[in-house]
């Protein structure tokens, strides 16, 4: 037991000395902030519902024609400033004097098909933004036209809140923050084991009265402890940031279990290949494969983590237990493999 602790301490100390863990945390912070940047920047630009939420869009539209009465309220509700003009020339003049950003011309009479003419600036970026903002008012106007033609649309007046941020936070950011420490743990185990093999220090270690399982187990446990510390940090930061998280202890345990699974898998691979390049390569591939496969078979822990965090009524300790049992099986298998190797 003492040997186990000493080995674990040695591994933790080497991680601390090389400041590896700092880089790892930096990467995670970077990924998280990048993801939220992507969310805020990109989704608010491409997501028609969110565009008006971001206050930066301040669009003025000039409108011409007799059929405009039905469209104007939808535009205003969307936060678009509407300026009426008598004819197209005046409206284009208004654009040139920088009074409006775009012009909508409606036909004078309603036919079977109503064709609107939309005049936008030539700059691609500006034009696509305008189209994006106008999309929702145009759809609502389309529903009005449908009603005039006797087609009833169900669920047309649903409101709700734009869900993208919510979905992104719980189904991307949170799982990533719990998965990444696990990924790092696996990397640490793979690296430190294959380093022992390549520098032949493993022979020295095994010459001491320590078993294979002690060496490997100590390395895995050190990595898991680091992962648990990181998960605690991320969960605390998310809470500080005002994100509501239910089932906190279970989430934390889940982070540790994932780290254990990754660590054991990495140990398998490293002991098998004994060579860093191969071990890292196979580890990375196996990891992607496992993620894809778990997604494929619908047992993805991603959904479970998200459900735990939002306080889903049907998800709880039982679901986490399944993963704990699975981890136990993996540890047993690794133990068997290591004892066999020692016998050889």
């Amino acid at each position: 037991m003492n040997a186990f602790l000493a080995l674990m301490k040695r591994d933790l100390a080497s991680v601390a000395r090389e400041r590896t863990i700092l880089i790892a945390i930096l990467i995670q912070l970077f990924i998280a902030s990048f993801s939220s940047a992507l969310l805020l920047g990109l989704l608010s630009l491409y997501d028609p519902d969110a565009v008006s939420v971001s206050a930066r869009v301040n669009l003025r539209v000039g409108i011409v024609g007799a059929l405009s009465d039905a469209l104007v309220p939808f535009l205003r509700e969307r936060g678009v400033q509407v300026v009426r003009y008598d004819n197209l020339d005046d409206a284009v003049g208004g654009y040139q004097q920088n009074q409006v950003d775009a012009v909508v011309m409606t036909p004078n009479a309603s036919n079977d098909i109503v064709t609107l003419d939309l005049y936008v600036p030539r700059a691609e970026a500006r034009a696509s933004l305008i189209q994006l903002v106008l999309q929702e008012p145009l759809r609502r106007y389309e529903n009005v036209l449908r009603a005039e033609r006797g087609i009833v649309t169900r669920y047309a007046d649903l409101k709700g809140a734009p869900p993208t941020t919510f979905e992104f936070l719980y189904s991307v950011i949170l799982p990533v923050l719990l998965f990444f420490p696990a990924f790092v743990a696996g990397n640490l185990v793979a690296d430190s084991l294959s380093e022992e093999f390549e520098l032949n220090t493993i022979e020295t270690l095994l010459a001491a009265p320590i078993s294979w399982s002690t060496v490997v187990g100590a390395k895995i446990l050190a990595a898991v402890l680091l992962a648990l510390a990181q998960c605690a940090l991320w969960l605390a930061l998310l809470r500080l940031n005002g994100t509501a998280l239910e089932n906190l202890p279970l989430l934390w345990v889940m982070g540790g279990v994932l780290a254990g699974m990754y660590g054991v898998a990495a140990a398998f691979i490293a002991v098998w290949f004994k060579n860093r390049e191969q071990a890292q390569f196979v580890y990375a591939l196996a990891l992607m494969g496992a993620l894809g496969a778990s997604y494929l078979f619908g047992v993805s822990p991603l959904t479970m983590i998200a459900r735990l965090a939002i306080g889903d009524a049907y998800t709880g300790a039982g679901n986490v237990l399944v993963y704990v049992v699975f981890l136990g099986v993996m540890v047993l298998a690794l133990g068997v493999m290591l004892t066999r190797r020692a016998v050889k």
Partner: protein, 528 residues
């Protein structure tokens, strides 16, 4: 050339040796499985928020088939009860939607709204006559040029998909994945030889460091190019265009990975630095490309060019050079730098990273001609500064507007001051220059070199980013004399604080950054 070829062959046989003994079939099998699973996962990109909402349905409610919604049939009483106890987020009772007022339930309604809208369009298209179901057409015209452009096909609002380049960016990103794998092998090989001291052996042979680097890099560049061409072939993209876009990118990635083994020593370090570098490059490449067509700054990433390529849209020389030229320049500079660093003394000294970096700067410079070295260094660092500033700008855009401007200004001032003064600081700390006169002269030359480089790059990039007002602050254009004087002042202040007032370099640098930021703010105020 013969030496380079010899080293390249040696590298290939080394790689074959490392990967002999059973791994190749395993790796290939796993790779296939991974790609299959990935393709399947990517098929349904809207899996965002999978299983997040619980919906109760009753009566003739619309059918809900979406991975985000977990549905169950309820009767009126249990539906209301489950909704109240938060076991359900929303109940769809025939044509009505019942929800609570809290956030979770409202998000569910919002998600449901989008899904049902989409379903409705599908249903209408299937059951109704097309003119009745879709009575609205929108015809887009250009407001600037009234008649000379041919009008586009009119669109139907409810059938118009948002112009997300998600799918295209993912395809473009497929090119980057093999590139990072290949460059990780390149780093590993270098690292391995460094640790086992075989590099020392190579260095004592009659070959130059440049030949060693080129020789070791060549096979990997060949793999990368083959992978790019292969991907282009599979995805039916024009191969030459794909190569033109991605060869600079792969050289850039190799350049960065070349620096890793030079500066680090243990396996763990290499793995994590490599991970860090991968993240950074992925962010730098993917992030701007997501804004294709929305912002001209999107062109800072070559993936934007790839997105354009897959859409069959044209781009000009300027758009091509905007991301590619800085990457090629960085590759060239890195090659030069690392061939100066590839020698026994630098490789085998173990010191903290900051010392190691200072050491690197020391070795890069030609100590017999410090003035020229400083000038060239500041000049050559401009592409890197430029890339760093673009990354900072991309990150800053998601801050609120007030902070965004401030943060971008401070950060860009920081990068510039660091680059201009670090060489001089190293010379001072190693006692290579002492006198007030020579420090001032070096500060002037550094400012001059930086300014010339900056103006040259501005000349290339101005056509692209001129519409972004921030670029006015970052690549300020004005009378040449004012920026030169300003650059010189800040550089000189930092150097003099460091050498005369004996203030630590970091603190002296902070002083320079404050001055530079004030100057930047004045410029922005003036130009707005």
């Amino acid at each position: 050339m013969i030496q380079i070829r010899t080293i390249a062959w040696r590298e290939i046989s080394r790689l074959r040796q490392r990967f002999s003994g059973g791994v190749s079939p395993v790796a290939v099998l796993i790779l296939l499985a991974v790609l299959g699973a990935l393709a399947f996962a990517l098929r349904d990109v809207s899996a965002l928020g999978s299983g997040l909402y619980r919906v109760g349905v009753r009566g003739d409610a619309a059918e809900i088939r979406d991975s985000r919604f977990e549905t169950m049939r309820v009767d009126a009483a249990t539906g209301a009860q489950l909704l109240a106890t938060r076991a359900l987020d929303v109940v769809v009772d025939g044509g009505a939607v019942i929800a609570r007022d809290d956030a979770k339930s409202q998000y569910a309604v919002g998600a449901l709204k989008r899904y049902l809208e989409k379903q409705q369009v599908v249903e209408l298209a299937a059951t109704q006559e097309i003119t009745r179901a879709f009575p609205l057409r929108v015809q887009i015209h250009s407001i600037d040029a009234a008649l000379d452009t041919p009008p586009q096909e009119p669109f139907i609002p409810s059938l118009q998909a948002p112009p997300t380049p998600f799918a295209d960016v993912i395809v473009a990103f497929l090119y980057i994945m093999p590139l990072s794998f290949i460059s990780i092998f390149f780093t590993s090989s270098f690292m391995d030889e460094k640790i086992k001291r075989r590099l020392t052996l190579l260095l004592s042979a009659p070959v130059t460091p440049f030949q060693i680097i080129m020789g070791k890099m060549l096979p990997y560049i060949a793999f990368a190019t083959t992978a790019t061409a292969g991907l282009a072939l599979v995805t039916r993209a024009p191969i030459w265009l794909a190569l033109a876009i991605f060869v600079p990118t792969s050289l850039f990635i190799f350049a960065i990975y070349l620096m890793v083994p030079l500066l680090y020593r243990t396996f763990q370090d290499t793995t994590f630095i490599a991970m860090f570098v991968t993240t950074m490059t992925a962010v730098y490449l993917v992030f701007p490309a997501m804004f294709t067509d929305l912002s001209e700054l999107a062109y800072m990433s070559p993936l934007t060019l790839a997105v354009k390529m897959y859409r069959g849209e044209a781009f000009g020389w300027q758009e091509y050079l905007f991301p590619s030229l800085p990457m090629l320049l960085i590759f060239g500079i890195t090659l030069y730098v690392s061939s100066r660093l590839l020698h026994e003394e630098f490789l085998m000294t173990y010191q903290p990273l900051t010392y190691k970096l200072a050491d690197a700067l020391y070795w890069i410079m030609d100590l017999r001609r410090p003035a020229l070295s400083i000038f060239v260094m500041s000049f050559a660092a401009v592409p890197m500064v430029y890339l760093a500033q673009l990354i900072l700008l991309a990150i800053a855009t998601n801050l609120p507007l007030r902070f965004m401007l401030g943060a971008a200004l401070v950060a860009s001032a920081g990068v510039e001051e660091l680059v201009k003064t670090m060489g001089i600081a190293v010379l001072i700390s190693r006692r290579e220059v002492q006198s007030l006169r020579s420090v001032t002269l070096l500060a002037f030359l550094s400012a001059l070199g930086f300014l010339i480089g900056e103006k040259l790059l501005t000349f290339i990039s101005l056509g692209i980013v001129s519409q972004t007002f921030l670029s006015a602050a970052l690549f300020n254009t004005g009378f040449l004399f004012v920026p030169l004087a300003a650059h010189f002042c800040f550089t000189a202040v930092v150097c003099l604080l460091y050498t005369r007032a004996r203030i630590p370099y970091v603190a002296a640098l902070a002083g320079g950054i404050v001055l530079h930021t004030i100057y930047n703010v004045l410029i922005v105020r003036g130009s707005l």
